[in-house]
């Protein structure tokens, strides 16, 4: 049934916007005609010529985008109340709106491509590979073609990718407007369209679109702007944001963390896990934006800077707060959980366990699993960033100059290993102090200890939140010292585990 509706909507989109599409076609023909002279001068082939016309960002921004905004808003407003009540629910209605527009737009783009090819066919010869267009480095158009040629030697692939990206950008736009239309009404969707258009122009003419790439539509529509100008990390962020918006509008729900047992909900609930995941993602995003703001697009530096920390020579308060947030935020949630368990200690679920020791062991296991999941997520994410980043990042160079040690992949994995062990040690320390005093004292005590480390550097034995700087400093002093520290931390953690587990079958 949906395919029939979509088909009729696609036809309606053509019929209802005849005048606008004719205007767009005329402008496209004008752009194609203007590009002919340049293409003839540089002896371009047919597909290079088609690429030259289709990636013209001035045509896209000043003609295609305003026309599409009008078409999309008209498309969304054309829904009558009678039609609305025929849909099963709002999600299905939005799905049909988005799919019909995307189908129509894809069809329209290929018609445009066909038109440009037909215009160029009498003059240019079809070419399989991109022509040699080096030499004129001052010509903006040729520079652009050069970048596309570096992206793919086959111009047809570049054309298809650019068109696909147009499709992605305009589908994102439709998804945003469709969401606003359904939540706030058609008047607000028109206002939003105007705001988006103004923001796009602002982003295009200023460097703001490079600093905050996800805010400006030009990065979602124009492929070379999204990838070549902003760099791969910004491009990936933009694509992920766009896909997120589209999936949200299509009614896709993210996978939820499965509820394992009632005890796990009482200790570290799914909500807590979601909050900490969002929190750590926020920290990574802040770090990423700082890097982009500084003009550094190397993702290896994101991994290094995120876990940089402080050491004897580099004592940054903000760096210390960041490393504290990374290390101690799981402990904060564990503290909340301990307090919650004390609050509900008379719950029947606790009586089901063989003994109090058994209950404590199970709770401890939940905490350890939570901390390991958290540390594992950060470890995998940062290691991936480090491996896929460029070798000669500014941070790597700075670290080499400071310590004389090249931060290689084994070094980084070693640091991540220390990070995971320290997280477990911190948990053991926190739980030990919690048992002797209480969780508030334990948390304040751990933060105070870390703060003393910042003020009085050099107490390496009590380093409870080491970053990369401290890791390299310890390596500089000798690998033996590092191994002793790891052994001590592991010893304390395992010792605590054994201590809690020793009487789990005792009958009291």
């Amino acid at each position: 049934m949906n395919s029939k509706i979509i088909k009729s909507k696609v036809i309606n989109l053509f019929l209802a916007n005849k005048a606008l599409l004719a205007l767009n076609f005329c402008v496209l023909c004008f752009v194609a005609g203007s590009a002919r002279a340049t293409a003839i001068t540089y002896h371009l082939g047919l597909f290079d010529y088609a690429l030259l016309v289709l990636v013209d960002h001035y045509y896209v921004l000043y003609c295609l985008l305003p026309i599409m905004l009008v078409i999309i808003t008209k498309h969304l407003r054309s829904l009558s109340d009678i039609e609305k009540i025929r849909y099963r629910n709002t999600n299905q209605m939005m799905r049909v709106e988005i799919f019909s527009f995307t189908a129509w737009f894809t069809f329209y783009l290929f018609l445009s491509l066909l038109s440009v090819l037909l215009i160029g066919l009498p003059t240019f010869k079809p070419n399989m590979f991109a022509g040699n267009i080096g030499g004129s480095s001052h010509n903006e158009i040729l520079l652009l073609l050069g970048e596309y040629a570096a992206f793919s030697r086959i111009p047809i692939i570049s054309i298809l990718v650019a068109l696909l990206y147009y499709g992605f950008g305009f589908t994102t736009l439709t998804a945003i407007l469709s969401l606003i239309n359904n939540k706030k009404g058609s008047r607000d969707s028109v206002s939003a369209a105007v705001v988006i258009l103004v923001l796009t122009f602002i982003g295009f003419h200023t460097s703001l679109s490079e600093k905050l790439p996800v805010l400006f539509l030009c990065n979602y529509i124009i492929f070379h702007r999204g990838l070549f100008m902003n760099g791969l990390p910004s491009f990936l962020l933009t694509v992920l944001t766009g896909l997120g918006i589209i999936l949200f509008a299509l009614g896709y729900k993210p996978p939820t963390i499965a509820r394992k047992s009632l005890l796990s909900e009482l200790t570290v609930s799914r909500k807590m896990k979601q909050i900490i995941f969002l929190f750590i993602s926020g920290l990574i995003l802040i770090e990423y934006f700082q890097l982009v703001y500084e003009g550094n697009s190397n993702i290896r530096d994101l991994a290094i800077r995120f876990l940089l920390g402080t050491n004897t020579d580099f004592q940054s308060f903000i760096g210390w707060i960041k490393i504290c947030l990374i290390y101690f935020s799981p402990l904060f949630f564990v503290g909340v959980s301990i307090s919650k368990i004390k609050q509900y200690q008379e719950l029947p679920i606790f009586m089901r366990f063989e003994s109090i020791a058994n209950l404590h062991w199970n709770i401890l296991w939940q905490y350890a699993a939570f901390v390991l999941q958290y540390a594992g997520f950060i470890a995998v994410f940062l290691t991936t960033l480090f491996i896929f980043g460029k070798n000669s990042s500014p941070m790597s160079v700075a670290l080499y100059e400071s310590f004389g040690i090249q931060l290689t992949i084994p070094h980084f994995i070693g640091n991540i290993f220390v990070f995971i062990i320290t997280m477990l040690f911190n948990l053991a320390l926190f739980l030990m102090i919690s048992q002797v005093a209480n969780e508030t004292v334990a948390f304040i005590g751990i933060i105070s200890l870390s703060f003393v480390n910042l003020l009085v550097p050099g107490i390496h034995l009590f380093e409870i939140n080491p970053g990369i700087l401290m890791f390299l400093e310890t390596i500089q002093q000798g690998v033996d010292w590092l191994l002793i520290k790891i052994a001590l931390m592991l010893g304390v953690s395992i010792g605590f585990l054994i201590f809690v587990r020793r009487r789990i079958h005792a009958n009291h």
Binding site: I286, Q290, F317, I318, I321, K322, L325, F332, G335, V336, I338, S339, K340, K342, Q343, E439, T440, F443, I444, S448, F451, L455
Partner: protein, 250 residues
């Protein structure tokens, strides 16, 4: 009056312990920081020494003073109180006792810190150091440190009242003891971090109570006012959110 007196008596031990810990930490920090630095003016040890302790300022101004309100609610005592006296009136008296003790503690500790700094400062003569004239009341910091110390302690005590008020709001609405104790500290630390990494430290709430924290060019009254207003706004938003949350759940 009787209720305020009883509440004050209940809080007195916590007040004594907090005052002792805060004073010891501040004196130790002043002593430690002045050992390795060149002291150029009498109030300098206090400026350097109070900065590390100020990280825990939100803990000193909440934990010792907000717990009675939490336990009054947790133990359902407030249900019985409402038969004898208006609940709001009773809560205001309780809050007043907490705020008054918090105010006195911050005032006393900081002023004694200034006195300690003036007494132990070993001024290095013949050395040209940075001048304080760019800071708010910079001249007074240099020439009349005692008067400035009193003014600063009073101002800081007022900031302490704001933080304590946030703590009281958490104590009344939040049921988790750990969260209730540490929420103001976590919020202020997070705000400090976010404003720090975004280059907006001049508008941070932390900047308002750390003496001469940033360079004189950004330590302007209007910037401090922005920080204070943001904190007051945040307190109001949190209070509304907690009330809304309670209404939704009960």
């Amino acid at each position: 009056m009787h209720i305020i007196w009883k509440s004050t008596k209940r809080l007195s031990l916590a007040w004594l312990i907090a005052t002792f810990v805060y004073t010891t930490a501040l004196f130790f920090s002043i002593n430690y920081s002045s050992k390795d630095s060149l002291v150029l003016y009498p109030i300098q040890p206090f400026i350097f020494g109070s900065e590390p302790v100020d990280l825990f300022f939100s803990l000193f101004t909440t934990i010792p003073f907000v717990w009675p309100i939490y336990f009054l609610r947790k133990d359902n005592f407030l249900e019985y109180v409402s038969m004898r006296i208006k609940l709001n009136k009773y809560l205001v008296f309780q809050a007043f006792a907490s705020l008054a003790l918090c105010f006195v503690m911050v005032l006393l500790v900081n002023f004694s810190g200034v006195l300690f700094s003036l007494r132990m400062a070993n001024i290095s003569t013949g050395v040209q150091g940075p001048i304080l004239t760019g800071y708010i009341l910079g001249e007074m910091q240099l020439l009349d440190p005692l008067k400035f110390g009193l003014l600063w302690s009073f101002y800081k005590a007022v900031i302490g009242l704001l933080i304590c008020s946030l703590g009281i709001i958490f104590a009344y609405y939040v049921k988790n003891l750990f969260l209730m104790f540490l929420a103001p500290f976590a919020l202020i630390s997070l705000e400090n971090f976010i404003t720090g990494v975004t280059g907006l430290a001049r508008f941070s709430f932390t900047t308002t109570y750390v003496l001469n924290r940033l360079s004189p060019s950004v330590m302007l009254p209007k910037n401090l006012l922005v920080g204070l207003s943001m904190f007051v706004g945040l307190t109001i938003v949190i209070q509304r959110a907690l009330v809304h949350h309670e209404q939704q759940n009960y």
